[in-house]
Amino acid sequence: MATQAAIHGTAAKPAGRVDVAHIVKDAFFTTLISIGLFAPLVGFKTVTNISNELTLETRWPLMFGLVAAVVIGRLFFLLVLEPRKRAQSASARIRGAREIAIREGLAQWFTPFALGFVVVYPLLVLGINGTQGAVKWIDNFGIQILIYVMLGWGLNIVVGLAGLLDLGYVAFYAVGSYAYALLAKTFGFSFWILLPLSGMLAAFWGILLGFPVLRLRGDYLAIVTLAFGEIIRIVVTNWVSVTNGYAGISGIPRPTFFGIPFNASDQGFAAVFGLEFTPLHRTIFLYYVILLLAMVTAWVTVRLRRLPVGRAWEALREDEIACRSLGINTTNTKLTAFAMGAMFGGFAGSFFAARQGFISPESFTFMESAIILAIVVLGGMGSQIGVAIAAAVMIGGTEIMRDLDFLKEIFGNDFDPTQFRMLIFGFAMVLIMIWRPRGLIGTREPSAFLHRRKAISGAHVSEGHG
């Protein structure tokens, strides 16, 4: 705390001069705090020896190494970064304008470029890696990321546009998945029939959840949605006669190419089109299906934002009481936001079930909700491009971490980078909070304009109160 007080002390000092006494004091407190923290955490280690006794081992060199690193980092911050930051804060307004300019530039070339890239991506991967290596890149990266992009865009409607904090979004994903799995297995309906059906079912559940929680705002709403997510998961786990409980549902019918199955038989896709059979055909097909679904989500959201209902969502996020004073039925507006978000979650869920061929309650834990919410927050609430980038970074990052074998050479063979995934996510979130508190893209695009479309700086845009 002393360090913090010291930091605030510097802020008041005139810029440009280095205050030696202050820095010495700060370094002293930094040393004390880091010794206090690292001594019990790193300085001592309990080891079980051969005779199974617990012994205490000291690691002073490592501890002092860490303390030294912290102090040096702190000095670097005080001597180099902070003076520079102080100099910059004067030009914060200019920076805001620059950010808006960057965003406008982004919108101009980034979106078409990204669209083109995702369309040719499977072919690109195929060309580079050949048939063997491509499955991993298309399936683990392409499809996985696109599912989360779609989920992020769906949740973005609820959280980013309408400003309703939903911690149980995975419930709708689960409803979509189980709707597809059960209906496809029981009645043998095709993927293309069940896709809209699962979306509608999820939307129905979204409205069902919406009704009781409409009166709640902020933290209370978040808790109830969290509970709803858990209820769905627990029902799915315990209703064994229908959902097969923990064991999950396997053998879910896979999507066909408009009736032509992807298998090695004579009626299969490869035989019909005169190709050599490879499981890659289905993977590529699935990739384009999820790409199409994600694009539909994006297109619908973009259109909705420019319609009265989308504007009402954003107005609701800004000020609910003002909305009511303008004759907007806030109940219906919230319900439509819940239903739309849930519907896209349901689409993604039914795609997920069709792609995996197997689902179990473990795929729908709170962790999933948290990841999707993290994507929306990291991306910048309300921003489509930001959410897509955040999904690519977070989900792609997880997948890449599986491949970081060279880290084993540094940290030893026991080191499994995927175990540190959450730690790294947490770290990334903290960094984003510091540098971009409004997410990657923190500006808002107006839905209508008279003279010129100007992006609105995040400083004005409200985050919603639930």
């Binding site: 303008l326 907007i328 806030t330 439509t336 209508a448 304009f449 004005h460």
Partner: protein, 303 residues
């Protein structure tokens, strides 16, 4: 159809609002007349905003009746029948009568067409000036977009409706002289402009009754004078009556046709600006009186 100026448009009768043991408004009755500006004044904490919240549906009054008419004056005959029924409104041709205390807040604006502004400005700060005015036209636009479904397909019906809405917004932006700032976030506007924008936004809902909660609060004398001009022109050019809460006497005395004075939730005076200006009870409530006069004034006020 007698829609003459001066016929009552809003009747508040025996309005009482209690919050637990606190009586915020006590047996208040007054009428607002068509095409006029009625001011509601009183010292701080007199219950003026509570009255507004009751009229606009944000509070459900503990007791009392708040009736609003659309169209001709003759519809008032229906008031006893409407009160006895469990209905919220009654329609007779183009005329209609609403019991505002029975309507939820958004229907007070949507159906009864009562618009309001807030004491602490409630604009959508992160949305542009134009968007603020478009949101006020939500209900007609929602209808034109076929409750989103037709709008999603991009049908021309919706596009022309939106163009019309933008035209109306443009009209108001020109009227409040904010046309050049149409694409700026509302939160970026200076305070006085935000006040005017909030009034324009309320007008975009096509109200028959416009309730303004301290529109001159925080304005400098020049801005107050501009506000007077704006309110007078609204009254002249639009079929709207205005109900006004205000502390700024230069605004109240100059533009109101009729003033109702509240103190401690009770009406202490009701009349033309000239009458109010000379009313001893009002002067006592606002300025206090000499010590020796306290008993006399208390007897007059009925304490």
């Amino acid at each position: 159809m007698s829609n003459a100026r001066g016929a009552p448009i809003l009747q508040v009768e025996h309005l009482t609002m209690r919050f637990g043991g606190l009586v915020a408004v006590n047996d208040l009755s007054f009428t607002a007349s068509s095409g006029e500006i009625t001011a509601l004044i009183g010292p701080n904490g007199a219950g003026k905003t509570t009255v507004f919240n009751c009229i606009t549906g944000f509070y459900k009054p503990t007791e009392g009746r708040i009736a609003l008419r659309h169209g001709g004056d003759g519809i008032w005959e229906e008031l006893p029948a409407l009160t006895d029924s469990s209905r919220r409104s009654i329609k007779r041709g183009d005329d209609a009568l609403f019991l505002l205390e029975r309507l939820p807040d958004f229907l007070v604006t949507q159906k009864a067409r009562v618009a309001r502004t807030f004491q602490n400005i409630r604009l959508f700060q992160g949305m542009t000036v134009l968007e603020n005015l478009l949101i006020a036209q939500h209900n007609p636009l929602m209808l034109a977009s076929g409750f989103t479904f037709l709008g999603l397909l991009g049908l021309p019906v919706y596009r022309s409706a939106e163009a019309e809405a933008i035209e109306r917004a443009r009209f108001w932006l020109e009227k409040i002289r904010l046309i050049d700032r149409a694409d700026d976030p509302a939160g970026d506007l200076p305070y006085g402009d935000q006040r005017r924008l909030e009034i324009a936004r309320a007008m975009c809902t096509s109200p028959v009754l416009l309730c303004l909660d301290e529109p001159a609060a925080g304005l400098n004398p020049r801005e107050s004078a501009e506000l007077n001009v704006l309110l007078n022109s609204i009254r002249q050019d639009f079929p709207v009556s205005i109900l006004l809460i205000e502390h700024d006497m230069s605004v109240v005395m100059e533009i109101s046709d009729h003033i109702v004075v509240l103190d401690y939730g009770t009406k202490i005076s009701d009349g033309s600006p000239e009458e109010i200006r000379n009313d001893q009870r009002v002067i006592a409530a606002y300025l206090g009186v000499e010590d020796e006069d306290v008993e006399k004034v208390e007897a007059e006020v009925g304490l």
